[in-house]
């Protein structure tokens, strides 16, 4: 299973990578903003995307909308992992196609629970 972490914070990407590694995943790629993420998705297959909201260049919501508008990529589950806690915005993300929504701060247990529906048999 190939997972893409999209977050402008390198420290947050490391934390998410570490949690995913502990869950048994090893094929993990990283992008620092939405634009970089779209390029990576266009050039390689991904099974799951963890997407921050507030990022420079291209926001998480705009990235999500572009992914869901693409016949090639709309089936990739996108889980928002963000500090954006406004209910209206959470609803907007879900209506735009987000498969799930994780509000920072979160524990590894919460990450595992929220990702479970989209994970393969590699999880511990």
């Amino acid at each position: 299973m190939r997972i893409l972490i999209v977050d402008d914070s390198v420290s947050m990407r490391r934390v998410e990578r570490s949690m995913l590694t502990d869950m048994g995943f090893s094929d993990i790629k990283e992008a620092a903003d939405g634009s970089e993420a779209l390029k990576m998705v266009s050039s390689g297959k991904f099974d799951l995307i963890l997407l921050d909201w507030k990022m420079p260049v291209l926001s998480g919501l705009d990235t999500l909308k572009r992914l869901k508008a693409s016949p090639d990529f709309k089936s990739i589950p996108v889980v928002m992992v963000t500090s954006e806690s406004n209910k209206t915005k959470i609803l907007e993300a879900i209506q735009s196609g987000a498969a799930n929504y994780i509000i920072k701060p979160f524990s590894d247990e919460v990450l595992k629970e929220k990702l479970e529906p989209f994970l393969g048999k590699e999880t511990a």
Binding site: S9, V15, S18, S83, S85, N86, K104
Partner: protein, 169 residues
Amino acid sequence: MNEPVIRIDQIEPFIKATIETFKTMVHLKVIHGEIRVRKPSEPASDYSGIIGLTGGAEGSVTLGFPLGTAKAVASSFLGEETVSESLVADTIGEIANIITGYAKKDIPGVEINISLPTVIKGASHEIISHADDKKIITFFVCPLGEFSLEVYLEGLPGQFPTQSGPGEA
């Protein structure tokens, strides 16, 4: 000159968010100490993570650490023994971002937008703004040292001025 009133209803969400963020992502128990209006002579930090607030209310949130505490907190956040200076700065900005995002969900009645974090690094630097005499500073202590959180919020509906002593929110 009258001392500005501390609006605990504005500060409590940030104290709660700081405690929760450190518990969940830095794996540390933190306790808040004194809450008061920031003094012009306030001791400066070595790392400051700053988040701007716009929308239904405007202001800023500044998370300030001495050098040793910043490094230790970044190390605990990342689960890595050695952390580069740039990664310490990134971590402080991200923690400030998480705290602010978490806090705003507990501020009812307004939609607040938060900026990307800005991090200032430098021994005992001083941040000067037009709102210095309106910032409320809360001090925290954790097993890795002390740090502070400054909150400046303007434009919120409804005010419930009160005072608070040290303890957990």
